[in-house]
């Protein structure tokens, strides 16, 4: 992940947001999707992704499903009802954070 320290705190929000928008996704797909959306600017590392996914699963925010694809088993993650609620909380938090940083870094854009 580039600028990992800055992005690190937002990893769960990113995961939740992506899963909220799609029916189900598997780990590798998430890393690729993030890479694609951010045009390679943000790369989620494998070492950070799976711990985050397992934590969200344990908290009941994600549900899992396994399907046989090609000649192997694939574990999919789906968002649960409480996961959907948590997503909007997290996104609000993130929006506040961005606004605060904006005000600090770029005060001229502040209309007040």
């Amino acid at each position: 992940m580039s600028n990992s320290k800055l992005y690190k705190g937002s990893l769960t929000t990113i995961i939740l947001k992506l899963l909220n928008e799609s029916d189900k996704m598997y780990g590798y797909e998430i890393t690729q999707k993030v890479k694609e959306l951010t045009k390679g600017e943000l790369k989620i590392t494998e070492g950070a992704l799976y711990p985050a996914l397992h934590k969200l699963e344990a908290e009941g925010l994600l549900d899992v499903e396994v399907k046989k694809v090609d000649n192997r088993l694939r574990k999919y993650y789906k968002i649960t009802e409480s996961g959907t609620k948590e997503t909007s909380n997290k996104l609000n938090e993130l929006a506040n954070y961005i606004a605060t940083m904006q005000a600090l870094v770029n005060p001229k854009f502040n209309l007040e």
Binding site: Y26, Q32, G47, Y50, K55, V64, V66, R72, L73
Partner: protein, 229 residues
Amino acid sequence: MKLNETQIQHLYTFTKNHFVEHYDLQTELVDHLANDIEAMWQEQPQLSFEEAKTKAFKKFGIFGFMEPIEQKQKAMSKRYRRYLLVELKKWFAVPQIVITLALFLFFYYTFSTVYVEYLSVIFYIIIAIWCGYKSWQLNRIFKRRKEKSNKKWMLEDMIFKQAGGITGLFLSQLFNVISISDTSLNNKYAILAFALLFTFLVLINYISLELLPNKAEKLINETYPEFSL
């Protein structure tokens, strides 16, 4: 180009060699490595399987699979504790609460007698022996299960092997409590606390060493419905 069956099996062995013991986590990591290798082959078809595998593994960082293993274990312990709590709650509802109360009263009255010192040690020894025996028995069952199937599930591991560990720790702590409170058990509150502690100990041990292992199949299926055992 897609990975063949032998290569997939090779990846399972690879994760095993990198300390991923459990089939549930192995499966997820194998699929991830496989996807990455296949994606690499699209861009560099000349890359050998071994080279691609090494590259894919390197992306997990210097600690390899350690972080995912640790986090998965935490998540699974949480689930195990939840199962334990669900069972424990039943003992405070009708009809089991009658047994819980009887157990508590039994401990309370026996500890109120002058023989408290001997009785507490005797009860302690009985519980410890039973726990030791059960842990040994569960370990044997676990080994036999492993002989039948090569797969090891993380939750299964906890139900059969770690249950004994928790109680062992608990028992060793209780022993300290007993040695400290030998002289101070003439106090009503101390007797009450002691009786509660023993009741709790019996319940927790009974649940983790008897009830949960008996329900192992059901719980494992509930935890991994997706793998349809």
